[in-house]
């Protein structure tokens, strides 16, 4: 039962890079929370993937960063921005 629930949740998983964008803009968690009208702990839970935001909250966050929603939230994991520059594959250690 627990496995079934986990598989279902994995299928519906929403990835985000709120943390990356927030740090890039030099904004604190409390600042972002105040701008979108939630508790700073909620932003923390969102960044850790413990909470999936409502459409209202997701759009409010994107408005703060002036980004389209697909730039911050995705069904697929976001690619690492440094991956293209690595000389070796970190998972296998092979040269590229």
């Amino acid at each position: 039962m627990a496995r079934k629930t986990q598989e279902r949740d994995e299928g519906k998983r929403i990835y985000n890079r709120v943390n990356l964008v927030r740090v890039e803009t030099g904004m604190s968690r409390a600042d972002l929370a105040a701008q979108v009208g939630v508790n700073p702990q909620t932003i923390g839970a969102l960044e850790r993937g413990d909470h999936y935001p409502s459409l209202q909250l997701a759009m409010s966050i994107c408005e703060v960063f002036d980004l389209p929603i697909e730039a911050v939230f995705s069904r697929e994991p976001f690619r690492s921005i440094t991956a293209a520059y690595r000389r070796t594959d970190p998972t296998t250690g092979d040269a590229r």
Binding site: N39, Q41, T42, A45, H51, P53
Partner: protein, 149 residues
Amino acid sequence: MTAPTTRGPADRAPLAVAVVGAGALSWLTLATLSALGPWSWAATLATLVFCACWLGSRFLIGDIAEKRRGAVDEYELEQRDRARNVGYTATLLLGAVVFVVLTVAVNLADGGDDALLRTAPGLVFSALVAGAALPSYLLTWQLRHQRDD
């Protein structure tokens, strides 16, 4: 590097464990005293300690469990609803236990077992207060997992 000056959720973890531990202990004392005999001063004292711990836990979690829907954000609402579900289930189960005990007490003899019937107010109170406070205690207990990031 300067140390952070504000207290985060991780700082509250030891206090949360202490408050929930003291609350659980005082409730067990209250329930045991209620089951053993009529209401006593010791039961009143246990109730006062339990309520003090309940207030402490409400303070630690920012009173999320008791707030109205509009006063909490979506993540807090999700946590609040989950904790309230557990509180509701606990109230039903404890109420069922009290129902069984009192039904047995009434049917033990022709006029019912007086000694057992006198425990009724304490048992009902213990069941109700546990269900009412459980959401706050549960959310306080979860503080031990929180970190400041």
